[in-house]
């Protein structure tokens, strides 16, 4: 496995992790833009634009793009998050040049108004689809409360209102500013012909005009550093109650982020964790889990619970007790080692799939300008000590803090609010 990097004169980074034994080539354009880069008037534009990129360029129709991907046998898609917008395709190696060219051309979309109006309907359907699904908006609301005035508070899809009122000019302007070459990384993994990749980039992206990009970091203002909060979204017809809780954790540039992921696995992985044995194995909860997520300048532990509505209050209390016991009594070496091996095993399996590696290598470079091989990550995981995990617990306690949102049949109940405030 080897890593290669070249920067075009206009600032576009071209990187590749080449695996000689791979059977496929994955190619992705990672644009350093997402919901956190939007203003109120632009709320939802990053994701909406991601859809519009598939609607064609001045000389390629949407049908033509779809037909070409299918003709190549590509598995192509895109996603938008708080910090990234990515367009990717996995193909057989002989299609690398064709797939790179197509993705590159798509990065300069026509953004036609009639396409914009039709696609707006699809975006509204997507918002409605998620609104009908668990956790019924609890995640978006929790993020909004937890992040407060920080730009990460913004949900990726936007709202029905923000999408409906958005004119096409807002998107065109956003695209011009954010899709500047220095704000984009072209990344490939697997069986990559790097020379061909660079020459594709020169051919299709070399004339992209460079624009200065303002810095993304925002002053930290997380309300979660204050008293815990609890909110209820009442969904009378749902069967289960869904809870999302967010509390502070190490950010993406913090060396403790790996220890934080290990801590989250010990406490709340979807199997074999403390929450699993306490609530899922016993059938008290459908789900009770915890994971760590990091961003450029913030990090969090996200806890998810789904259970019978009448058990929600008790189980939230139990989760807090699990977290408190870990902080006060510490973790034992056996569960630490079990989970470290579990994480390492997971990394090895993910690492041998180039299609999966794309989503580690691309964003890592986009965020930090660094490359980490699977071996680098494995070494970091294997070098973690119990003390590292205890330090994370001490720096970012999970108990008695955080923003919690419940969505489900529970009616507004003042006693629940008080119970949480009293912690």
């Amino acid at each position: 496995m080897k890593f290669l990097h070249e920067r075009l004169p206009n600032g576009l980074d071209v990187i590749a992790e080449v695996t000689d034994t791979a059977l496929s080539t994955s190619i992705g354009f990672f644009v350093k833009t997402g919901a956190r880069d939007e203003t109120d008037a632009e709320w939802g534009v990053s994701h909406f634009l991601e859809h519009m990129v598939f609607k064609g360029t001045n000389d390629l129709s949407a049908d033509e793009i779809n037909r070409r991907f299918d003709w190549m046998g590509a598995s192509a898609n895109a996603f938008t998050s708080e910090e990234d917008t990515a367009y990717h395709a996995a193909v057989l190696p002989e299609q690398q040049i064709e797939a790179t060219a197509l993705l590159a051309r798509m990065m300069r979309p026509a953004l036609r108004e009639d396409d914009f109006d039709t696609e707006k309907l699809v975006i509204l359907e997507e918002i409605r689809m998620y609104d009908d699904q668990p956790p019924f908006g609890a995640d978006d609301r929790c993020r909004a409360t937890f992040f407060g005035h920080h730009p990460l508070a913004r949900s990726v899809l936007g709202t029905v209102e923000s999408i409906e009122r958005m004119p096409v000019e807002v998107m065109r302007d956003y695209h011009r500013r954010r899709y500047s070459p220095a704000n984009i990384v072209l990344c490939a993994t697997g069986a990559v012909d790097f020379e061909a990749l660079v020459s594709s980039a020169r051919e299709w992206c070399g004339d992209w005009e460079p624009l200065a990009i303002p810095p993304r970091r925002a002053p930290l203002d997380l309300r979660a550093s204050h008293a815990p909060t609890l909110e209820l979204l009442t969904r009378p017809t749902s069967t289960l109650e869904y809870a999302v809780k967010m509390s502070r954790g190490p950010a993406g540039d913090d060396d403790d982020r790996f220890a934080a992921k290990l801590l989250a696995a010990i406490l709340g992985d979807t199997s074999g964790s403390r929450l699993y044995w306490a609530m899922v194995d016993t059938g008290r909860a459908e789900q009770a889990s915890c994971h760590h997520q990091d961003f450029l300048d913030a990090g969090m532990f996200a806890t998810q619970l789904s259970c019978d509505p009448e058990d929600a209050e008790e189980l939230l209390g139990m989760i807090d007790e699990v977290y408190r016991a870990a902080a006060e009594k510490g973790l034992d070496r056996r569960e630490f080692e079990q989970n470290r091996n579990k994480l390492a095993g997971r990394w090895v399996l993910l690492g041998e799939r180039p299609r999966r590696r794309l989503f580690d290598v691309g964003p890592e470079w986009a965020h930090s300008g660094d490359y980490r091989s699977v071996a680098d990550d494995l070494r970091t995981i294997e070098n973690l000590s119990l003390e590292d995990v205890h330090r994370v617990l001490a720096r970012w306690p999970l108990h008695g803090t955080g923003s919690t949102v419940l969505a489900g049949p529970l009616p507004l109940d003042p006693s629940l609010e008080t119970a949480s405030e009293a912690q």
């Binding site: 791979a22 779809n66 409605r128 095993g345």
Partner: protein
């Protein structure tokens, strides 16, 4: 592409399958026992799922915690699932851990404790999962569709029905495991960085002396009504359609799945282009091929807001009706290209290949080589697909809609 496949059959009927994937460090193993939901029995829908869950709750001299601790402590990613036909236990790991994993799976399959005092927890776990599916409208629509379309009990939900799960006793679980977790009909598949001879020796030592009675066959009954509306308080209406096509082991299944892929397989498919791209009616719309051993279906799905659901259904039906006689060579070329590329890329995942070779054996009684599979796609042409479609026009549709208001369904499509 060079491919090395292995197979062996133990005296007790267990079939062993293997595939070398030399580029990988990992190995994946999967045990498929013929203890699927099809054997749940009347009033016991969910028995296979509850039994599968109980099998993990202590086996041999290990408690359920011991099992999870040793698997996860060895970096083994484990999974357990129940389908219509099988209860499956699987693990993916770095190759050197395989000798640790095999004896644990042997205990789970041959020596499950099925303890009384775990039944309530296991039952509650199954019920929690069922309650979760109640909140997933797309899942509910698809589940109702399979239940109506396939003859009973082939379409019954493997996750169970709450009232039935409530009624299951520990003796039901014990007799189910005794009757259906048996060597005959069992497939053990391994793929990745394997040493086949060593694998066979180990499996022979762990499973070779296992002998039980054969499982009994299932009586197949009749199917449900053609059209059903499921009231649900949601913003979107979910539409699911099915009609019968040949099962995978039938040669014509390639023509059938190619035709369905033209209809709704990729982003250049008819349904995606017409329903989503041109009309903006929905976020998700698709058509696909779903097969059991003796029955198979074409399945179409879309979810869209209530006000536009009728138009979505009408356009979907029009596209289905328009399909025979209109397939173009370029469309079929794209379908073939997608299928072939997916097959090759599958070789990068040991778990995907272990699942694939087991599936082939279950349906065909043999494993087709990748070269043969690719050749079958190469042989497809417009004449063969159109020929099949002309003789098998989509008809007798089962139609489920789930949402606030029922949809109008033209009588002829379900006839």
């Amino acid at each position: 592409m060079k491919q090395t496949l292995h197979s062996a059959t133990l005296d007790n009927g267990i079939v062993l399958l293997g595939e070398d994937l030399p580029g990988l460090e990992s190995v994946a193993v999967a045990f498929h026992t013929p203890a699927g939901a099809v054997h749940d029995g009347p009033g016991r829908c969910g028995l296979a799922t509850l039994s599968g869950e109980m099998m993990l709750r202590g086996a041999g001299d290990r408690t359920s915690r011991d099992i999870v601790e040793i698997l996860e402590g060895s970096g083994i990613q484990w999974a357990q699932s129940v389908s219509t036909s099988h209860a499956s236990f699987a693990g993916a790991m770095v190759a050197r851990q395989l000798p640790t994993a095999l004896p644990i799976y042997a205990d789970i399959l041959r020596r499950p404790r099925l303890p009384d005092d775990e039944l309530e927890n296991a039952r509650q776990m199954v019920l929690q999962n069922l309650a979760g599916t109640e909140d997933d409208p797309a899942h509910r629509a698809m589940s109702a569709l399979r239940q109506l379309h396939y003859p009973h009990p082939l379409g019954m939900p493997s996750e169970g029905i709450s009232a039935d799960v409530e009624a299951i006793g520990v003796d039901d679980v014990r007799s189910f495991v005794r009757a259906h977790v048996v060597p005959r009909g069992m497939i053990i598949a391994v793929a990745g960085r394997i040493d086949w001879d060593d694998f066979v020796t180990r499996v022979e030592a762990l499973f070779g002396d296992w002998d039980t009675d054969d499982a009994s066959a299932v009586a197949i009954g009749s199917r449900g009504e053609r059209v059903r509306f499921v009231p649900h308080d949601s913003q979107q209406t979910h539409i699911a359609l099915a009609w019968s096509v040949p099962p995978y082991r039938h040669d014509a299944s390639y023509e059938a799945s190619a035709a369905l892929s033209v209809l709704g397989g990729g982003s250049s498919s008819r349904l995606f282009s017409e329903v989503r791209e041109r009309r903006g009616l929905c976020y998700s719309v698709s058509a696909g091929y779903h097969t059991l051993r003796d029955y198979a279906s074409a399945i179409c799905y879309s979810g869209t807001s209530a006000a536009r659901a009728q138009e979505t259904l009408d356009v979907m039906l029009a596209e289905i009706d328009r399909l025979p006689g209109t397939i173009e060579e370029a469309e079929l070329d794209r379908v073939k290209s997608r299928a072939k590329s997916a097959l090759v890329m599958q070789q990068e995942s040991s778990a995907a290949r272990a699942a694939w070779i087991a599936r082939q054996w279950y349906h065909l009684g043999s494993v087709r080589s990748l070269a043969e599979e690719l050749a079958r796609y190469d042989r497809l042409n417009v004449a063969s697909v159109e020929g099949w479609l002309a003789a098998n026009r989509p008809a007798g549709l089962t139609i489920v809609s789930l949402g606030k208001e029922p949809l109008e369904v033209p009588r002829e499509v379900s006839a």
